[in-house]
Amino acid sequence: MEYNEKTREIKTDKELNNLDKFALEFLNIIKKYVDYVIISGYVSILLGRTRISEDIDIYIKKISLGEFKEMYKELLQNNFWCINAEKPEDIYEYLKDNLAVRFSKIDSPIPNFEVKFPKDKLDEQVFEDPIKVILTKGEIIISSLERHIAFKRYFLSSNKDIEDAEHIESLFKEFINYNKVSELKRLIKKRNVKK
C-alpha cells in the first residue's frame, strides 16, 4: 500500500473482500450523481484494519430532490433499497432534516450504507481534503487521515474508535500532519460545547 501525499492517492493491490465489493457497487452508482466522501470505520477497514462493520458511513454533498430522485431510481434498478422509507420525497426529507438514511441490497440489510448530508461547516470541510484510494477494481474516496484520526479520537472516542485511529497512525505516521489533527480537535471540542 503506497500513499502519494502530492496527489492524495493511496494505491493498494489488496484482494477485495465482500464489504469492498458492496461498497464499490453502491459508489459506482452514486458517484454519477453526487460528490461523496467515506468517513469513520470503513476507512480503517478499507486500509487493512482487522475488524468488521455492518455499515459504511458516507457524506454526500447536498443535492436537489430532482437529482436525488435520479440517483435513487438507479439504485432501485440495481437491487438496492432504502430501509427507512420507500418514496424518494420521504427519504430526501430525512436527509434534509440531517438524519441518516440506510441503503442495502434487497433482502440483505447487512451490510448497508449510512448516508447523510453534512450538517454544518465542520462536516462540509470533509469535501476539501479527501483522499482517493485506488483499488484493483475501482476507486473509493475517503476522508483525510487527519480528519479520520481527529474524529475517531476526540469525537467518537470508544475503544473501537481509538483502535481505528491507532491503526491509521501506525500505518501512515510519517505522513500525518499533527498540527492539522490538533486544529480539528479544537474545532470538534468547540462544536461539542455549542450543543
Binding site: 500500500m1 503506497e2 493491490d13 465482500n18 458492496f22 482487522t50 491503526h167 501506525s170 500505518l171
Partner: protein, 55 residues
Amino acid sequence: MKKDKEKKFMKPGKTNKEDRLNFVKFWAEYMKTHLDTEWSNQQNILINSLIKFKK
C-alpha cells in the same frame, strides 16, 4: 512500504485495552512487511465469513 520478513513479536498488554492496542500496532507492522495480497487474504477470511455479497 518495505517488505522484509524479519519476525516481529508483540508485547502482551497489562490490560485488555492495552493488549488490543498492541495488536493493532503489531498488525500494522505486519501489513508494512507483507504484500497487500498477503495481509488482505487474512483480513478477508474474517470479513467474508460475516458479510455475504449479493450482486
